[in-house]
């Protein structure tokens, strides 16, 4: 089979899975929907491996393979082909997406076991993976936009999966609306590029771009900035990030899949894919880098004070995606993609661990009610520690290598990039603190009642199921979570999935040790062949310094977290009181929701109300609609008056009329 055939197979399996589950959800017995969904993604992963092996058999100069299935439309200069591009970057992405997704599908079989929407869940999940694979395999802008929009729609479906929870449906709508803002940016950005290159095909665009654009020309900068809008909306970067924490309303495996491992990385992929264009638009690159750096720092501060365990991880995701966006924007493509991969492992692992502890708490997500689960949930605890160490960048865990490499390349750019470099290390320090704050609060301290029960062998079961966000009472029918909760200690599929990811979180960093193996840099080189920023670094001193600084910051962050939340919990209380304004700022998420509300939502609502009151009511309703009905009414009143109902009157009119016509013709002759 050729390489591109493998690419098409990668798309085919999840699509088939979606169709089979969606059309057969009534007849599929038991848990078979989960098995079908998981094996579909597993097969996609195998096909991705096939694509990898087959791609490596080509010589490095010929590793960008495009294939078109059919031509959808060819009109007015737009050639809309259903085409994929299989190159090292897209193969790298499909491996991560299908690999992590198959583990998450496996985990979901147990996690959603009691849920009444089991088959629906797997249909959505397979559709999501299909959309994401379509996005990364797309060979032209058109298919990219299709995949981009599908991902947004699928994430709406999954966030609102428990559709009887009003908080969940609202979060889904919010995510969808913000993603559509990004979609609009992507489409408009594509237009700016297309206007000059006259092609939608990626390879043709990248070949033409250096010839038709001057570096820093207005149109290319505008195009790249608009593409960046798409990227930051999908990747939850400031200021379009507010949907991500709210999206934690979805089931926990969904958070692991969409909001950690795959969907939010689409923005990073987009910038890496469009690197040829971005390098012609330095202003857009710089904007991306600054947005990434600001996001990684702000999200870190917010994560410090969140009490919902899933939201802590969500803000940490924002922060880590900030590193990646910054990385691919300053030219650290391999490092950014490498961090994307390691992050997918440890973040999915952390979310799965969070799912397990939420199961042990019978759906409760607040860190304030968790404590001392270390003995009750030993496996989950181990996973959390591995994920936490990887996230904090402690050697030899995977996050250590990838994050430092991004910052190394940032530092090497020199000039004002040193500010980004410093911000990155400040973010790393915060990361260690908030990660271990979460772990220490959930697993150390005195065991809570639920933990004690679990130590005695009983899984806590809520008397009345409630919404963890609002405390509203719920039932366990379809549209709400099912009646039972699951913990990893008691479900083999969850343990298998978490073990695989834990191995990845420990070992994935070893594939690219600076100066030792550089596997990813070598593998991705064909995609970035023309980039002057790609070739690796020269400053060994900075490399060593960065690695040591990262380790020291990570360890001291953990030490501080240990001192504050394990040894002397009173410090946290005093600090919060002393620094009340700062605490409020962080706890209110830097008032971004309020800011967007004041700047966009309220003016739009006011404009809408004004338009209803004036234009709609006076012009449309009264003048246009009222005017035309008035004319019809008056006309029909006149005609109606003639209809007297007197038969003889009609007869007389008829006779007179005929007589009149006859006389007219008589007089004519």
């Amino acid at each position: 089979m050729t390489t591109t055939t493998f690419g098409w197979l990668v798309l085919l399996f999840p699509l088939l899975g979606t169709l089979i589950i969606a059309s057969g959800y009534r007849v599929l017995p038991g848990r078979s929907a989960g098995v079908i969904g998981t094996s579909a993604i597993g097969l996609a992963f195998l096909a991705a491996l096939g694509a990898l092996i087959s791609l490596q058999s080509h010589s490095p100069a010929h590793r960008e393979l495009a294939s078109s299935l059919w031509n959808y439309a060819n009109t007015v200069g737009v050639n809309a082909e259903v085409a994929i591009l299989v190159d090292p970057l897209s193969v790298f992405m499909i491996l991560i997406v299908s690999g992590i997704s198959s583990m998450i599908h496996l985990y979901s079989i147990s996690y959603l076991d009691a849920d009444r929407g089991f088959a629906r869940y797997f249909a959505y999940l397979n559709f999501f993976v299909f959309s994401m694979l379509l996005l990364v395999l797309a060979g032209n802008f058109l298919l990219l936009i299709v995949g981009w929009a599908f991902v947004g729609a699928a994430s709406y479906l999954l966030i609102s999966f428990w559709y009887r929870r009003t908080t969940a449906t609202r979060a889904g709508i919010k995510a969808f609306v913000i993603n559509v803002v990004g979609d609009a940016g992507l489409v408009l950005g594509t237009y700016f590029i297309f206007k000059h290159t006259h092609t939608l095909d990626f390879l043709a665009t990248f070949n033409a771009a250096p010839h038709v654009f001057h570096s820093g020309e207005a149109d290319i900068v505008a195009g790249c900035l608009l593409l960046l809008v798409g990227a930051i909306a999908k990747s939850a970067q400031i200021p379009l990030h507010t949907w991500l924490p709210d999206a934690m309303e979805g089931p926990t495996p969904v958070s692991a899949l969409i909001h950690a491992a795959t969907m939010v990385t689409a923005g990073v992929y987009l910038i890496a894919r469009m690197h040829v264009l971005y390098e012609l638009a330095p202003a857009a690159q710089d904007t991306g880098a600054v947005i990434g750096a600001v996001t990684l720092l702000l999200a870190g501060t917010i994560a410090l004070v969140q009490t919902d365990i899933k939201r802590v991880i969500a803000y940490s995701t924002m922060s880590q995606i900030g590193y990646m966006i910054m990385g691919v924007s300053v030219g650290a493509y391999a490092a950014g993609m490498f961090h994307l991969m390691t992050h997918a492992f440890f973040k999915a692992l952390l979310f799965m661990g969070a799912g397990s502890i939420i199961g042990a708490m019978a759906g409760e997500q607040s860190l304030q009610k968790m404590s001392g689960f270390r003995k009750a949930l030993p496996f989950t605890f181990a996973c959390f520690i591995i994920g936490g160490l990887a996230l904090s960048g402690i050697p030899p865990f995977s996050g250590f290598f990838s994050k430092d490499e991004i910052l190394l390349v940032t530092g090497e750019r020199g000039g004002w990039h040193w500010i980004l470099y410093v911000m990155g290390y400040m973010g790393a320090f915060l990361t260690a603190i908030y990660t271990f704050r979460m772990i220490f609060r959930a697993f150390y301290g005195d065991p809570v009642a639920e933990a004690r029960e679990l130590e005695a062998g009983y899984l806590h079961h809520a008397e009345v199921p409630t919404n963890p966000a609002t405390g509203e009472v719920e039932d366990t029918d379809v549209g709400f979570p099912g009646p039972h909760h699951t913990i990893a200690e008691r479900a083999l599929p969850m343990r298998v999935a978490m073990t695989v990811l834990a191995i990845g979180a420990i070992g994935a960093g070893l594939v690219q040790i600076p100066e030792v193996d550089d596997v990813i840099t070598t593998f991705l080189r064909p995609t970035f062949a023309g980039s002057p920023l790609y070739e690796p670094h020269t400053r060994d001193g900075l490399l060593i310094f960065g690695l040591i600084l990262g380790t020291v910051l990570g360890l001291s962050g953990i030490a501080i977290a240990y001192r504050i939340w394990v040894r002397r919990p009173s410090i946290a209380v005093t600090a919060r009181e002393r620094l009340a304004p700062v605490y409020e700022l962080f706890a209110h998420k830097w008032y971004f929701d309020e800011l967007i509300d004041a700047l966009v939502v309220r003016p739009a609502a006011a404009a809408g109300r004004f338009a209803t009151g004036t234009f709609e009511r006076v012009f449309v309703q009264d003048t246009l609609v009222g005017g035309s009905t008035g004319i019809v009414r008056a006309g029909s009143a006149a005609v109606r008056a003639v209809q007297s109902g007197f038969l003889r009157y009609y007869a007389a009119l008829l006779v007179l009329g005929v007589a009149g016509v006859s006389f007219y013709f008589l007089l004519q002759t």
Binding site: V639, R640, A641, V642, Q643, S644, G645, F646, L647, R648, A651, A652, V655
Partner: protein, 99 residues
Amino acid sequence: MSIGWYLAVSAIVFALGAAGVMVRRSPLVVLLCLELMLNGANLALVAFSRMWGNGDGQIFALVVMTVAACEVCIGLGMVVAIYRRQLPIDVDELRELQG
């Protein structure tokens, strides 16, 4: 005899019928007057048929008679229905279809 006389009689019969339709109020009489009008027309058709010396006009007259028979059938049926429902037998009273 010239065609003029036939036409004059035909016109008088037609006008009598039309006047009857316009002034009489009983549905039965209105129907009778309609028959008068049709027969006035028939007379003219037959007269023209004679004048041209072919039978087309007479065929027309036969068709008109058939139509007239149908029309009377329906008309009388309606009159009977009106009578059965004890409605006034007066076209001026039966004016529910006004606009």
